[in-house]
Amino acid sequence: MKGYSAFSLIRNALQGHRHWQPLWRNPEPKRSYDVVIIGAGGHGLATAYYLASKHGIRNVAVLEKGYLGGGNSGRNTQVTRSNYFWPQSAAFFDHSLKLYEGLGLDLNFNIMFSQRGVLTVAHSQHEIEMMRRWTNALQINRVDSELLTPAEIRQIEPLINLHSRFPVVGGYIQRRAGISRHDAVVWGFARAASALGVDIIQQCEVTGLDITDGAVTGVQTNRGDIDAGKVCIAVAGNTSMLAAMAGFRVPIVSMALQAMVSEPVKPCLNTMLGSTTIHMYVSQSDRGEIVLGGGADAYPSYAQRGGIPIVEENVAAVLELLPAFSSLRLMRQWAGINDITPDTTPIMGSTPVRNLYISGGWGTGGYKAIPAGGDTMAYTIANDEPHALIRDFGLDRFERGALIDEGAASGVAH
């Protein structure tokens, strides 16, 4: 792999940009791998990258039924934050945020990480009191957070309407949180993993799992059978279907979460601004588009499109807080299928089938967890024991009643 630098940019410019290399190889699948990862989204690719770079396991394939990063990795709203209430979640997601801070350098790929802050507003005295409790918990978890007065909020976001239908009475900000370019994260991991010898195989759909004596030994695909020492499921939204192939059930419901973007405008929004009460969040991309999202469509769905009632609710909430945006036109709207777990905490680690691992249940917040998810899953697969940060995220927590209920504690829905 040729490294990217200012020098390589100049050299390629002088050569008329004719010599850029493809970002990753497109190999034919081999008959056998040490580790097969199902799903070439952020989590699958990051797991492969850390397996190769940290644990020296390079005979790895990442199988993707569609195209690389075409699922939720390309459908999210690019937010990274670690404002979680429970210590286990805060430790895990803050590890992820720290990895994001160095990810551009680590991958030699500009992920355009912009730590512009995530600002959450409150609309009632009760909410402010809960927010005070929340920010205290964050500080105990050693995650930065600052309560803000309405005047301070206006200073940060001059466009905000503090006297909305539910008036803004305060809020808080996590300044280290921010947004990055989701395609760049996926492409960066794919390029770095491929350079270390990982085979990324697109248009390769897993149709079955080979299981002998309670242990997985390979996968069946539309491009032939592949033997595998270990298999990891990282298929956001489709986790239940893969678990069914392996013969067990998971506490997941698949739901469509929508997002949409407006036409591009000049910089006017400084943070990612959100409200849990009126269920909206909004940020501005580097291209100037206003990116908005809100709640999931409230019924099981595998249709990656979403319904109109949620669009209406979402847009109404955004316009109530930011009336200036009423003159913008929406350009695109889409949906991704999310694994929703009962406690909105991911499911990571081993499964009832030996040598089969799962990284799922990411709900509406998988993007922010990509580097930490990859890092901890790679450790878990390489050592066949859960990484310390994900010990409490196992599938067995439901049987033990040891849920980590972030549902009420963190951001919009997740």
Binding site: N238, S240, P251, G307, P342, F398
Partner: protein, 91 residues
């Protein structure tokens, strides 16, 4: 936009309804293992395709009923009363 046929009120938009998740889930006895109890409480088949589910007409008559719906196409195959078995071809 889903349009559901409430068996009591007729066809209405999805905004009037709330989905109550899997239908026909049977509660096990109290002497079962933790695993069986957790399976009952938390696990779902969560199929891609035909799904039997409960809905409530919350902003209407307030009644519960069952729906056989496709989770991929959102096509509604059948609506039937609580306590009733799913139509033969959707079981």
């Amino acid at each position: 936009m889903l349009r559901l046929d409430c068996p009591f009120c007729g066809t209405r938009d999805e905004a009037e309804f709330r989905c109550g998740g899997d239908a026909h889930v049977e509660r096990p006895g109290q002497d079962v293992s933790d695993a069986t109890w957790a399976d009952y409480l938390f696990n779902h088949d969560n199929p891609k395709g035909l799904h039997l589910e409960r809905w409530c007409h919350v902003f209407g008559c307030g009644q519960w009923f069952n729906v056989a719906r496709d989770t991929l196409t959102h096509e509604i195959h059948a609506v039937y009363y609580m306590g009733e078995a799913a139509p033969e071809r959707y079981r």
